[in-house]
Amino acid sequence: MKTLKTLAAGLLMLTTTSPLFAVPPGLAATPGIDFKPPRGERFTLENGLVVYLMKDNTLPVIHISAMVKLGAIQDPPLKIGLGNLTVGMLKNGGTKSYTAEAIDEELEFRGASISGGIYREETRLTMTTLKKDLPKVLDIFAEELRAPVFNEEKLRLAKDEQLELIRRRNDKPTGQLFRESLRKYFGENHPYGWRSEAATISAVTREDLLAHHAAYFKPNNTILAVSGDFASAQEMLALLNEKFGSWEKGTVPPPALPPFEHPKGRQVYLIDKDLSQAFIIILQKGMPNNSPDEYPMTLLSEVLGGGIQSRLMVEVRSKRGLAYTVESNVIRYTTQGLTYTYCGTKPETYSQALTEILAQLDRAVKEPLSDEELKRGKSSIINPFVFKFPTPFQLISERASEEFYGLQGDYLDNYVSRIEKLSQDDLLAAAKKYYATGDAVIFVIGNSKKFDKPLSEFGPVTELKED
C-alpha cells in the first residue's frame, strides 16, 4: 500500500461546520458538515492527575493513554537515549509486583497490549484491553507508570538492542535524511537536533533510569485519556482512584533548552552514496505552538505540497514525471518549529526537481494565491476536520493533547474559523517570513557522480561522511 506522506505533521489540525464544499460535475450542491467535536468529561484527582473520559459502549474494549510531560529533549547530554530506555523499560523491565515475563504472559494471553514511546516533548503509554480483563490490565499499567524496577539483565538487553539499531541507522536513506538534516539545522548539540551514540547509550545505568523515572513520573505531570466500555464516569473514576489515588505528587524540573537561532544564508549538505534515487530535503524556519502564523503556514503548505493536487505534485510529479514523492509540511514544537519540503528523484535529473521546488517556494513568496486556490486550500483543510476524531478514543486523546501541549484559545473548537478567516495578504506575509530560500538548508543523500549538475550550483556544499 502506498502512502504519500512520509512524515507526520506537528500536531493537530481542526474544526467544524463549514459552508465550503465543492461539487463534482453534474451533481447538486452537497450540504455543509454539521459536526462539533464533543468535549468529553474532564476530572482532576486530588493528587493533580488530570483525567479525560469518554464513555463508549459499542464494543467491549477499553483504551487508556497516559501522557507524561517528559520528552527526549530532557535527556542529559552525555546520556542521550536515557528517556527512550526508561520508557521502554517501564514495560520490559518488570514492576514491583510483576516480573517482565509475568507482564508479557498476562497481557499476551488475554490479547491485551501496553505499548508506548517517547517523542521529543512527550511520553505516551497506551493500554488496550477487552472489558473483562480491565482490572488486571489496569493494575499492570498503573504499576508500570508508578513502580517499575528496571531489571538489570533486561536493561542490558535493551541497551544492546539500541547499539545494534545505531549500527543499522543508515540502512534506510529516508530515515537517515530526516535525522541528519535536523542535526545540521538545529545543531548536533541542540536537543532538537541530537541523536544517541554508542557512548551515550553505554553510559546509561539502572540508577539513571530510576532517577529519571523518579523525577518525571508524577501524577501532576501526567494526563490520562480514557475511553471505552465502562458503566459511568463515577465507576471509572473510582477505579482510577484505586490505582492512582495514592501516587504522590511532587515538583518536576522544567525542560531547559539552550537558545536557538534559525540558520542564516544558504547551506547545502551532501552524503555521497550510491542509491537508485537522490533524496532531498529543504529545511526552513517554522513557528512554535500557539503562534498565529500556524494557520497561514498550514494552508500554504497544503497548497504547495499537501497532496496530488498540490503545486509541487502537479509540477514535479504529474507534469514532469520526476518523482514519486514530493511534499511539504510544517512541524511545531513547544518552543521552535520548522517547515520542510521533501523529494526523492533519480540522481540523473535531481537538479531539475530541486530547481522546480525552489522556484515554487520563491513563487509563494512573490505572488499571492488566486481566489480559487485560496478557496480550495481552505476546503481541503476544513472539510476533513471531522476525521480528526474517527473513534471515541482518538477524540478524547485529541482533547487531552490540547491541554497537554497548552494549546490556547479553544484551539480545537476555533481551528476552522481561524482557517476560514485567512486572506491572500495573510498568506503572502507568512510566505515572506518563512519561505525565503536564501536561508534554506538543503540536504541531499545521493550518488553525486550521476548528478546532472554539480550540487554547488545550489550553494556552498559541505560533504559529510555517514556514521
Binding site: E108, F109, K172, G321, G344, N383
Partner: protein
C-alpha cells in the same frame, strides 16, 4: 502484537455499534439481505444486475463514511513481459475521465492518439538496444515531449484529487498487490452521492491521459524502493523461491518491462479486468443502507460487465532443492526465508497459521524468548504464514542478527527452534493464547471504519466471502498441538526452503575470491 494472518481480520460484534435494526429490513429493496445472525455484524449484501457486489454496514459515531472498491486483478494478471501493468493502471485510475481532468476531451483525444503512435515507435526503437538509431531516438523523444505539452492545454492535472480534497476526503488512495487492486477513500457521510458519481465515472469512462509521464513516476517509485534493503531482500526471495508462478515478479514490475509498457497495453488490461462483475464495493459508516443501494443503482447500473478472461497462470512445480542466495548491499546483515505453503483452501493452512504465531507472535513467542532474549543471537525474528492469498504462497521468515553473532549462527538458531517444534508439539496454553489474540484483534478491528470496509471488500472479492475470517477462526479452533508439529514437518523442510542473506557490500569481493560468502 502483530495481527494474525496476513488476511485482514474482522469480527465479532457484540453490542449495538451498528444502528441497523430489524426495522431496517423492511425498507431495504428487493434482493438486499441483511445478516441477522448475532455472531456477525449486520452487513447488508446486494448485487447489481451487472455483477457489482455491495456490502454495507451502518456504523455511527462521527458523520463519516468509508468506501473500499476491490477488484480481483493484481500483478499476477499482468501479461508475460508486462509485469507492473496492474500497478501502473492503478496510478492511471487517478487521471480522470472524459469529463474529469480535462477541459475538452474531443480535442484532447486527437493529441492523445498522436502521442500513442509516437510512443509506440519510440518503444520499438528503444527495444533495439544498441542498434537503435541515436538520431531517431532523439527525434521521437522530442516529438513525444512536444505532443505532451500540447495535450497539457486540455488536461486539468490533478482534478479528481482536488475535487475529493474539497469534498473533505481522508485516505484517498489505492493499492496493488500480486492478488488484487483496491481503491479507498473516506468522506463526510453527506457526500456519499458525490463518491458514487465520481467513482462510477472513473471506471466507466476512464481516460489514461499523461500516461508516459506517470510511467516515469512509477519508475521513480521503483527506484525509491530499490534504495531500501528490505525491498531488495524480498525481491530476491520471491524471484528465487518461485520458478514458474508469477508470484516471482515484483508488484512494481521489472524496470525493463516498465520501459516497454504502452497506453494501449493499459487500455487492454482495463477492458479485461475492470468490470463491475470483478468488483466489490464496501461502504461502512453513518449511512442508510437503502439509500446506499439506491445511489449505487443510480450511478453504477450503467457500467457494462467486463470480459473477464480466465487467468492463465502457471502452477508452481514442487521444489526439490534448497536454494541459498547472497545479496550484497550497503547495509547491515539480515536474512529472509521462504517455504512454499499449500494455499488458503488447504486443510493444513489453519495449523500453519498457528505454527507461525507460536514461533513469533509477541514476547512470549519462542523466537523472542529464545533467540532475542535467550541466546541473544537475534535483534528480531518474525514469521508470516502466507505472503499472498489467491494461490499457494510462502511461509515467510525475516530476521536480523545482533552483533557479534553472524547470519550463520542466526540461521542455525532458527532451524533449531523449528526442529524443536517438530519434535515437541506446542502446549495447549500456547494455542489458546493464539486464539485469544485472534478474537481480541477481530473485535478491535471493528473500531475503524476505513479498515473494516477494506476487510469486507477484500474478503468478499478475493476469498469469496466477507465472513471468511469467522470461518477461518472456526478452523483454527479445531487445530490440535500435534497438527502444528506435523505442519512444521511437512512444510518447513530443507527441500522446500529458500534463504536470502544480505551481506555488507564490502564482503562481495572477498566472498568471490573464496568462492563462498562468510
Amino acid at each position: 502484537m502483530k495481527s494474525l494472518a496476513l488476511v485482514p481480520v474482522l469480527l465479532l460484534c457484540c453490542a449495538p455499534l451498528y444502528a441497523a435494526g430489524g426495522d431496517k429490513t423492511e425498507t431495504l429493496p428487493k434482493g438486499a439481505v441483511i445478516e441477522t445472525d448475532p455472531k456477525y455484524p449486520p452487513v447488508v449484501s446486494y448485487t447489481l444486475k451487472n455483477g457489482l457486489k455491495l456490502l454495507i454496514l451502518k456504523k455511527t459515531f462521527v458523520p463519516t463514511v468509508s468506501m473500499t472498491m476491490t477488484f480481483k486483478v493484481g500483478n499476477i494478471d499482468s501479461p508475460q513481459g508486462k509485469t507492473g501493468l496492474a500497478h501502473l493502471f492503478e496510478h492511471m485510475a487517478f487521471k480522470g475521465s472524459k469529463t474529469m481532468n480535462t477541459s475538452n476531451y474531443a480535442k484532447e483525444k486527437v493529441i492523445l492518439d498522436k502521442i500513442e503512435a509516437v510512443a509506440k515507435d519510440l518503444i520499438a526503437e528503444e527495444a533495439l538496444g544498441e542498434k537503435a538509431g541515436a538520431a531517431r531516438l532523439e527525434t521521437l523523444r522530442k516529438q513525444l515531449a512536444d505532443l505532451e505539452k500540447e495535450a497539457d492545454k486540455y488536461a486539468v492535472t490533478g482534478e479528481l484529487n482536488r475535487v475529493y480534497g474539497e469534498l473533505g476526503e481522508k485516505g484517498l488512495n489505492a493499492g496493488t498487490s500480486n492478488d488484487y487492486t483496491t481503491y479507498m477513500v473516506s468522506l463526510p457521510s453527506n457526500r456519499l452521492e458525490a463518491y458514487m458519481a465520481i467513482e462510477s465515472d472513473r471506471f466507466k469512462n476512464a481516460v489514461l491521459r499523461e500516461f508516459y509521464r506517470e510511467r516515469s513516476v512509477v519508475m521513480e517509485e521503483r527506484r525509491m524502493y530499490e534504495s531500501d534493503p528490505s525491498f531488495i531482500m524480498n525481491e530476491a526471495l520471491f524471484s528465487n523461491a518461485f520458478t514458474a508462478h508469477p508470484y516471482r515478479n515484483p508488484t512494481t514490475g521489472w524496470m525493463d518491462d516498465l520501459k516497454r509498457l504502452s497506453k494501449t497495453d493499459a487500455e487492454e488490461f482495463f477492458k479485461n479486468f475492470y468490470g463491475p462483475n470483478n468488483a466489490t464495493l464496501a461502504v461502512v459508516g453513518d449511512v442508510d443502507p437503502a439509500e446506499v443501494i439506491r445511489l449505487a443503482e443510480k450511478h453504477f447500473s450503467g457500467w457494462r460487465p467486463g470480459e473477464l478472461r480466465p487467468a492463465n497462470i502457471t502452477k508452481e512445480p514442487p521444489q526439490f532443492s534448497e536454494k541459498r542466495v547472497n545479496v550484497f548491499a550497503k547495509a547491515q546483515p539480515t536474512l529472509r526465508m521462504g517455504f512454499h505453503n499449500p494455499g488458503m483452501p488447504s486443510p493444513d493452512m489453519p495449523a500453519i497459521i498457528m505454527l507461525s504465531e507460536v514461533l513469533s507472535s509477541g514476547k512470549t513467542s519462542r523466537f523472542y524468548r529464545n533467540l532475542v532474549e535467550g541466546s541473544k543471537v537475534a535483534l528480531g525474528a518474525n514469521t508470516s504464514s502466507l505472503t499472498a492469498i489467491r494461490y499457494p504462497s510462502l511461509f515467510y521468515v525475516s530476521a536480523s542478527p545482533k552483533a557479534p553473532h553472524t547470519l550463520e549462527e542466526l540461521e542455525t538458531a532458527i532451524w533449531a527452534e523449528i526442529d524443536r517444534l517438530k519434535a515437541e508439539p506446542p502446549t495447549a496454553r500456547e494455542l489458546e493464547r493464539v486464539i485469544n489474540n485472534y478474537e481480541a484483534d477481530m473485535i478491535k478491528q471493528l473500531e475503524g471504519s476505513a479498515e473494516l470496509s477494506g476487510s469486507l471488500a477484500n474478503n468478499q472479492q478475493i476469498l469469496g466471502d466477507w465472513k471468511f475470517d469467522w470461518e477461518l477462526m472456526a478452523r483454527m479452533r479445531e487445530v490440535k498441538p500435534e497438527d502444528v508439529s506435523n505442519a512444521a514437518k511437512k512444510y518447513l523442510k530443507r527441500s522446500n526452503y529458500t534463504v536470502v542473506f544480505l551481506r555488507p557490500a564490502e564482503t562481495a569481493d572477498l566472498a568471490a575470491a573464496k568462492g563462498e560468502a562468510k
